[in-house]
């Protein structure tokens, strides 16, 4: 395997779960998420020579986000609406050891509420709470100033909290 390919796999593939998680929450669809991630990874591979060190994860996730926006624009042009049931937003795979029966139903409810948050709030919440990214990294992914990240994150949490405590 050549050096460029080896470096790409070593640096990009560890973030595959992060890429898929973001694509899945943004698109709210498992099939769309796979297409978005595949497209994003190929774009990243083609642009890899232009990637000069730095943090791979924010760079990769910003490509995922751009692919999702492009895909969304295509869907809108065709006059379709990409809406799925809130149930689709459930995580696949095994629940964590801590997830008790009660925890699982709480999780389902939280997932459904997050899936209904407006895009600009949903993305910062996912990046912060699930990907554990810093404000600076989130700003890189979303292409917004840090101040915007902070206010959107506060708004996202307030919206989610309000709905969570009401239901």
């Amino acid at each position: 395997m050549d050096e460029r390919r080896r470096r790409f796999e070593a640096q990009a593939l560890p973030h595959l779960d992060a890429a898929y998680n973001l694509a899945r929450w943004l698109s709210r669809s498992p099939a769309d998420a796979e297409d978005i991630v595949q497209e994003a990874m190929l774009r990243a591979w083609r642009a890899f020579d232009g990637f000069r060190g730095g943090d791979m994860k924010p760079w990769l996730l910003s490509i995922v986000r751009n692919c999702w926006r492009t895909a969304g624009a295509d869907v809108r042009r065709r006059g379709q609406v990409a809406l799925s049931e809130a149930g689709d937003a459930l995580p696949s795979g095994e629940p964590s050891p801590e997830a008790t029966a009660q925890g699982a139903s709480e999780g389902r409810r939280l997932g459904a509420l997050i899936a209904r948050l407006p895009d600009e709030f949903r993305e910062v919440l996912i990046l912060r709470e699930m990907e554990d990214m810093s404000y600076r990294e989130i700003a890189k992914v979303t292409g917004t100033p840090i101040g915007t990240v902070m206010s959107r994150l506060a708004r996202a949490r307030a919206l989610l909290k309000e709905k969570w405590e009401r239901t």
């Binding site: 898929y20 998680n21 899945r24 595949q38 190929l42 995580p91 629940p95 939280l110 404000y135 949490r157």
Partner: protein
């Protein structure tokens, strides 16, 4: 309910502030009811998100498809495809295991428990820097224990272990996880050990951590949550925790 400092409070709880900025934010939270309410509910929400485990994992087939798609874009390497794909498969298994291990670690450290670890260490450091780590100075547990009544939300155990070199020095009250926590202060050689005690509200405790040379050990006992913080040797802190735990049983 909103406070103009809310974004700074949020940044503090997210672990985005350091040094004096962190200490200033912590002081502000102590005096601001709106920020206390919002940080307590942010912690509840963060814990719930951590418990819910909502992160999606990439399906294994996606990884395979990706490798194939990249292969398709590298025609020069098709000749070695069979041999390499065996190794790529073996590698991706190893990478998946490593990713899963990394994931398990991040999942057991949801942001809110991480900020709890940070806020407790910051409280300890801020108290030392202020020169007033103790609000009630006494080595007599009959004085220290009742002092907390009406000040902290819990009545903490205040055992004294002079023979083992951990002497009761006094107490103070700090905010932890939105509660007025009792902090029992001990001296050990030239070091100060803070024992934080607050009501257990079912939240997940952080892992034991070391930040900037300060060790923190967390545990639950009965309906209380505990944290011991100090810059003493971590083995010494573990010894202290074992003594406190055995005294409580």
């Amino acid at each position: 309910m909103s406070c103009p400092e809310l974004l700074r409070t949020q940044a503090y709880l997210d672990g985005e502030l350091d040094g004096t900025a962190a200490i200033e934010a912590a002081r502000h939270i102590e005096t601001c009811a709106a920020c206390q309410t919002s940080s307590a509910s942010a912690a509840r929400l963060g814990d719930a998100l951590g418990r819910a485990d909502l992160r999606h994992r990439a399906p294994p087939a996606l990884r395979e498809r990706l490798i194939a798609a990249i292969d398709a874009e590298s025609p020069a390497h098709r000749a070695s495809f069979v041999q390499r794909s065996f190794w790529a498969g073996a590698m991706s298994g190893a990478a998946a295991t490593a990713a899963a291990a990394g994931l398990a670690f991040t999942l057991s450290l949801p942001p809110s428990t991480w900020s709890l670890a940070q806020s407790i260490a910051d409280d300890h450091i801020a108290a030392l820097l202020s020169g007033h780590p103790i609000q009630i100075a006494s080595s007599n547990h009959h004085i220290v224990k009742p002092w907390f009544a009406g000040r902290a939300e819990v009545s903490p155990p205040t055992p004294d272990f002079p023979q083992q070199g951990f002497t009761l020095a006094g107490g103070r009250v700090d905010r932890v996880a939105g509660a007025r926590a009792a902090v029992v202060v001990y001296r050990h050689g030239g070091h100060v050990i803070d024992l934080f005690v607050w009501p257990d509200k079912g939240s997940i405790l952080p892992r034991n951590t070391t930040r900037h040379g300060y060790h923190s050990i967390f545990w639950k006992s009965g309906d209380l949550d505990f944290a011991a913080v100090s810059d003493t040797e971590s083995s010494e802190l573990e010894k202290f925790v074992a003594l406190v735990r055995s005294a409580g049983e």
